[in-house]
Symmetry: C2
Subunit: 310 residues, 2 copies
């Protein structure tokens, strides 16, 4: 696995941004530790998903290269796959909920016109995708529960731990589990002491409950402002998380909003609420991490300011 | 001057953030040059003014150390001076217009309670300040037209040119002229070939007209979204600008807004409109700077999202 992660990360160098790591005195003081922000909000298409999209397309079976790829996503993976496919000259089809915000739709439309709308729920997305797959010879790429996606994601943590080998903990948010799976594989393979901590909104705590029960649990609602984390944990990601993630910390909606406010209005970087979840988890549990070197993955920066009030 | 700038920059290291320099592929592609963003929006109090405030207080006459400092400012210098004085344990008085936005007032009030409100015009600010100075033995620090302020500001450009000696041009916005004066002194002393370009909103083009006429010109209105640049050019800054600034480029309000939109929504960093003015000037004149190494000073990041629509 070590060699695969190294080789994928090297291959991705031509396509992805090696995102900067930023430090902020006020966060170090607030949390009593040394905090390093890995800024995937500065990645192409504004999120880490671009790493996954490029890697999945590069590894797709050759027989689909003419006909193209398809995914269902309302957000960052749709945007990432559309641009990655555009850059790699592969046709791209997207199934998107009909209530996708306009700013997200327009980002996607600049790369592909093959956008199919459906009702806004997972069943409708999956059904619409499978209907299209019956008629078109397309390669389906799941936004998080796919090994090429996971390995693509791992390139972010590899860059991070190579440049900052003294990190004691890396915090990653958990939605479908693709980012934390990739992160924990990389950290586990390239650091002897660094541990991986998951951060999840209490309102969609499926991963937290799954770790306790030992089987994948489901969310009854998706009522969180962290729109990137509403997806349920995937079957490929879950065993990786069971093996390599040390702990999952939960945060409330208020804690997410408070951290989002700090990041945007004090740190002056634009992140989406899913990124704020990891800072919220650190602030809430800062005593436990006193004087440690903490890496926080800012997973994305796609936020609609017009719909947000601080 | 070289030694003074070096020694001030060294002295300031304990107090200010050596702000990061960020690069963005999409800007390089858009402008056909290599663009380096010096992010003073990440500075303490969210703007370069903190460098000036610290340096001015450190160099104040000893007889005022018990009684304190005073300035008039509605924005970043008030915030910077309040925090710098707080850190250096000097009393601080601020004269602020009565229409200063609440988010700016509250930033200041966490460091000093000595805030005196006045009408929102320069005459009222100066009159109120002079009335206070009649009764109180305070040291007045002008937000831009003061040599310690200018030298404090120069530390930003020195950090920039030392780390990026291949810069061909550094762009700085112009309001009162304190930032570009400090920038141009540093660049002139520490680079043989790098040139300094000013960027100014067309609606408050006093510095542009002053360079042409050879005397300080005034603005008839302050009608620009770039609130940090509404101040008129200062008498100490003007001769420095005449000597060391190669050109001033003007941009419209729409061009400022378009650049602000790009910086916040594509680059994912939070800047205020005054910072967007320099990117607007580069985008507008990009043919002239083809393949060059361009440094853009992002002067500050204090923006009220609640009052802004993209």
């Amino acid at each position: 696995m070590r060699d695969i992660i190294l080789s994928v990360t090297k291959d991705l160098q031509k396509f992805v941004i090696k995102t900067p790591v930023l430090r902020f005195d006020i966060i170090d003081s607030l949390c009593n530790c040394n905090v390093f922000f890995k800024c995937e909000n500065f990645q192409h298409t504004g999120s880490f998903k671009y790493r996954a999209a490029i890697n999945a397309i590069k590894n797709m079976p050759v027989e689909f290269k003419q006909t193209g790829v398809i995914t269902h996503s309302s957000g960052n993976f749709a945007h990432a796959l559309a641009r990655a496919a555009y850059e790699l000259k592969i046709p791209c089809h997207l199934v998107m909920p009909n209530n996708t915000p306009n700013f997200k739709k327009s980002s996607v439309l600049s790369y592909t016109k093959n956008v199919i709308e459906c009702e806004s729920n997972l069943k409708a997305r999956e059904f619409t995708t499978s209907e299209i797959l019956k008629n078109k010879n397309l390669y389906f790429i799941h936004p998080s529960n796919n090994m090429d996606v996971i390995i693509g994601n791992s390139s972010c943590a590899l860059e991070f731990i190579i440049d900052y080998p003294n990190l004691d903990f890396v915090f990653s948010p958990i939605g479908g589990g693709g980012l934390i799976a990739g992160t924990s594989i990389a950290i586990n393979n390239f650091s002897e002491h660094c541990q991986v901590i998951g951060a999840e909104p209490s309102n969609v705590d499926d991963a937290y409950r799954s770790l306790i029960s030992g089987k994948i649990e489901f969310n009854e609602s998706t009522n969180t402002i962290a729109d990137g984390l509403r997806t349920n944990l995937g079957s490929i990601n879950f065993p990786i998380i069971q093996n390599y993630v040390n702990e999952i910390l939960l945060v409330s909606e208020d804690e997410i909003m408070d951290s989002l406010d700090i990041i945007i209005n004090k740190l002056k970087i634009v992140v989406e609420p899913s990124s704020a979840v990891v800072l919220a988890a650190l602030i809430k549990n800062n005593k436990k991490f006193k004087n440690k070197n903490i890496g926080l993955i800012m997973c994305g920066g796609n936020i609609d300011f017009n719909s947000l009030k601080f």
